[in-house]
């Protein structure tokens, strides 16, 4: 996510950091490149211009020139402004004090509303709420089937009416159904529509007037270009929505549309969708995102993810085992499972400082690597997993055949495993001071 933009900005900042002294011209040149990077990331041209003007004013107004690290100061200003542009602090969905809370999803065709509805249903269910998915898209072929299937996988009920019922009536009926079922969150998946289609926009207005939702979320494609401001502006003018859910951010989308929509409508981004699976939905944190865009990583989210996926007790046990050299392939397998629970590798790597931009720009992460390692370990006998040293040539061939890999791959895995054990052994022998020294010797 945002890799391109991050990479471009990193290059600009590297130059900026290199100056011992900054002149006004240095700053202006750098900011011109920042503007270019923003435009290439699909930030609306007006928004980009305003952004640069603000940064310039602040950077030149502050005591940047006197500072010992002037470049750093400018980057700080960019970071602060970017955070502000992204909406400042993370915002929650409005919950009604009296359940059920009604959440309406609106947006263009193909922005990912139905999938987002499924993800939100799962999200709320995980939070201990009882959600209901309402299929109010009666136009697109098989939209209702899709909502039903997604609701089923999310483990929530789905309300729909087959015949040509008016979507307004479907929504009204859904509320009483939800109340009967004791649901406390009701998600309305509306049909995709063009923002200039007055008749269809009017349908949304009618639904809004009738059910009075607590929250209207605009579902928008993260890959949208300059038109994002027209689209978001029209939805805002008709509906005054409350927040944005940004989808398809797991590719190399530059996400500039997000910045533009926010700045045009003043509505915060509340969720981002980062994958195809139902659990690939995250709350949006502007400060963390700003830091990710600027290549500073997002350690907070990473820690949160790790906390959710990894059992601390077990982690300690693993560490102890590694130290005592009793770490086996069985333990390794279990660890792999935990890492996989954190989401896609690419996504995780993007959160590590310095890993977001240029480092991985041209490298695509092969998500199947884990699967192959897993297959190899699963093709080992119990004894082999405990005592890998007994794995000879013939066993290697068997493991390769059993896992659909090659002997070379099995060799590599065995080698890596024994190296890992050795490394940990050496680490635990050193005291921390030595450890620190050896780390710095790499620089």
């Amino acid at each position: 996510m945002f890799q391109e933009l991050t990479g471009k900005l990193e290059t600009v900042f590297k130059k900026l950091r290199g100056y011992g002294k900054l002149s006004e011209k240095n700053i202006q040149d750098s900011l011109r490149e920042v503007r270019r990077a923003l435009l290439e990331a699909d930030v609306h041209y007006k928004v980009a211009r305003q952004f640069i003007a603000r940064v310039q004013e602040k950077a030149i107004g502050q005591d940047v020139f006197k500072s010992i690290t002037p470049g750093q100061q400018v980057i700080r200003v960019v970071y602060d402004e970017l955070t502000a542009l992204l909406g400042g602090t993370a915002r929650d969905v409005h919950f009604s004090p009296v359940p059920p809370t009604l959440i309406m999803l609106v947006g263009l065709q193909g922005s990912g509303k139905t999938t987002a509805a499924g993800k939100l249903a799962r999200y709320f269910r995980q939070k201990g709420r009882k959600a209901l998915l309402v299929a109010a898209d009666i136009y697109r072929p098989a939209a209702i089937d899709q909502a039903e299937i997604l609701a089923r996988s999310a483990g929530v009920p789905c309300f729909h009416r087959r015949e040509g019922t008016d979507p307004v009536d479907i929504c009204v009926e859904a509320i009483s159904f939800g109340q009967q079922e004791g649901c406390d969150v009701i998600l309305f998946d509306t049909a995709g529509r063009l923002h200039i289609d007055d008749e269809m926009m009017n349908e949304l207005v009618r639904i809004k007037k009738k059910i009075v939702p607590h929250e209207i979320l605009l579902v928008a494609d993260g890959m949208t270009g300059q038109d994002a401001v027209n689209m978001a502006g029209q939805f805002q003018a008709h509906l005054e929505f409350d927040g944005i859910l940004l989808t398809k951010l797991d590719g190399d989308a530059r996400g500039g549309a997000a910045l533009s929509m926010l700045s045009v409508t003043g509505k915060p981004i509340k969720f981002v969708s980062v994958g195809e699976k139902l659990d690939a939905l995250e709350r949006f944190h502007p400060d963390r995102m700003a830091s990710r865009i600027l290549g500073m990583g997002d350690i907070l989210s990473l820690v949160e993810k790790a906390e959710k996926a990894i059992d601390e007790e077990r982690a300690k046990e693993f560490e102890e085992k590694l130290r005592k050299e009793s770490f086996t392939f069985e333990d390794f397998l279990e660890q792999l499972d935990q890492i996989k629970g954190m989401g896609s590798l690419e996504h995780i790597l993007g959160m590590i400082p310095g890993m977001g931009g240029n480092v991985f720009k041209n490298l695509s992460v092969d998500e199947t690597a884990f699967t192959r390692i897993e297959a190899m370990i699963r093709s080992m006998t119990r004894e082999e997993r405990w005592r890998p040293e007994i794995i000879d040539g013939s066993r290697r061939r068997r493991i390769a055949a059993g896992s659909g890999t090659t002997v070379q791959e099995v060799n590599r895995l065995l080698k890596q495993f024994s190296m890992m054990k050795k490394m940990v052994k050496n680490l635990s022998k050193m005291n921390m001071k030595q450890f620190g020294k050896s780390l710095f010797s790499f620089r």
Binding site: D42, Y45, P141, A142, D227, G233, G251, D252, D366, E367
Partner: protein, 307 residues
């Protein structure tokens, strides 16, 4: 003035066509200066052609102004149109899908693209079009991943009154493609259109999956599929280049179908795609009805870009 009014007014301005805005900028100027070119740059940026393309176009126009010593501001608009038109003229692509000749039967079309661009809808329209031209059409539901994708294609097959080959959700898409090709031959079908799941171009395994679909087809018969079309959403920004590049690398695209041109987005990104990768646009989608598929016409497109 409330926020809503302000927005409405803002939108009125953006809705005004770009040519109108350039004309406004021209009025009161006797010659083309840097300010005017800055204005033109802003206007071009809005069409999503991208900042590199904009620089290139502006540079070319400056050259032309020098060469022809044409310093009258009203020359800007024709120059602009010329520049963009010339991108598409370099190698004139056959407009629209080729009519299948009996020697190459079945004419196989593989449809690919990222999620939500309108692949399935486009297939429905394309099937209807071929059917109306008197061809026997078969659809293949090789999107076995997205919930209800198969049902969606079935409904389109019904509307276009053509046959469909489908497996269960979760089945191997390559095997659906394989079966559909066998069926197309057995039933003496003229046109076979294969729907695939939407996939982001950066997902290595999903791109491998779609490469496998193509490989399986080529193995059946050299030169199959005759067409590999990427469906691109006109609202897409600069990411469109990455989409075209990666899909082209993986599958050797024969063309692009630009959809959702009935909104306010101009789809200017195809200019950059044609310029950088030389992939032609063959068709455009302009609405939700089954007839709303047109051949791409560069002249029309350039007019619409500024209209």
């Amino acid at each position: 003035m409330g926020i809503v009014e302000r927005l409405r007014e803002g939108l009125q301005q953006t809705r005004q066509n770009l040519i109108g805005r350039i004309t406004d900028a021209i009025i009161g100027r006797s010659k083309i200066d840097d300010d005017l070119m800055d204005e033109v740059e802003d206007i071009l940026l809005q069409t999503d052609v991208g900042v590199n393309m904009v620089s290139k176009i502006i540079d070319n126009i400056r050259d032309r102004i020098d060469k022809e010593s044409a310093n009258a501001p009203e020359r800007i608009v024709p120059f602009l149109k010329d520049e963009i038109r010339s991108v598409f003229m370099t190698e004139r692509a056959p407009a629209g899908p080729l009519p299948p000749s009996s020697s190459t039967r079945p004419h196989v079309i593989l449809m690919v693209g990222v999620n939500g661009t309108g692949k399935t809808t486009t297939i429905g329209k394309l099937a209807y079009r071929y059917k109306n031209q008197g061809n026997k059409v078969l659809l293949a539901a090789a999107d076995t991943f997205r919930a209800a994708a198969i049902e969606q294609l079935e409904i389109w097959a019904d509307r276009a009154d053509v046959d469909i080959v489908s497996h269960q959700m979760g089945a191997d898409p390559a095997s659906v493609a394989f079966d559909s090709f066998k069926a197309a031959r057995a039933r003496e079908v003229d046109v076979l259109i294969i729907d695939t799941a939407g996939r982001l171009q950066t997902k290595v395994n999903l791109m491998e999956e779609v490469k496998k679909i193509k490989r399986v087809l080529t193995k059946q018969q050299e030169g199959i599929p005759q067409e590999t079309l990427m469906v691109l959403d006109a609202t897409t920004g600069q990411n469109g280049i990455s989409q075209a590049k990666r899909f082209h690398e993986a599958l050797n695209l024969t063309g692009i179908v630009l959809t959702k041109l009935d909104g306010t987005a101009k789809g200017g990104i195809v200019v950059a795609i044609k310029d950088q990768l030389n992939i032609p646009v063959t068709m455009i989608g302009i609405g939700e009805n089954i007839e709303d598929l047109r051949d791409f016409d560069p002249e029309e497109f350039v007019d619409a870009l500024f209209g």
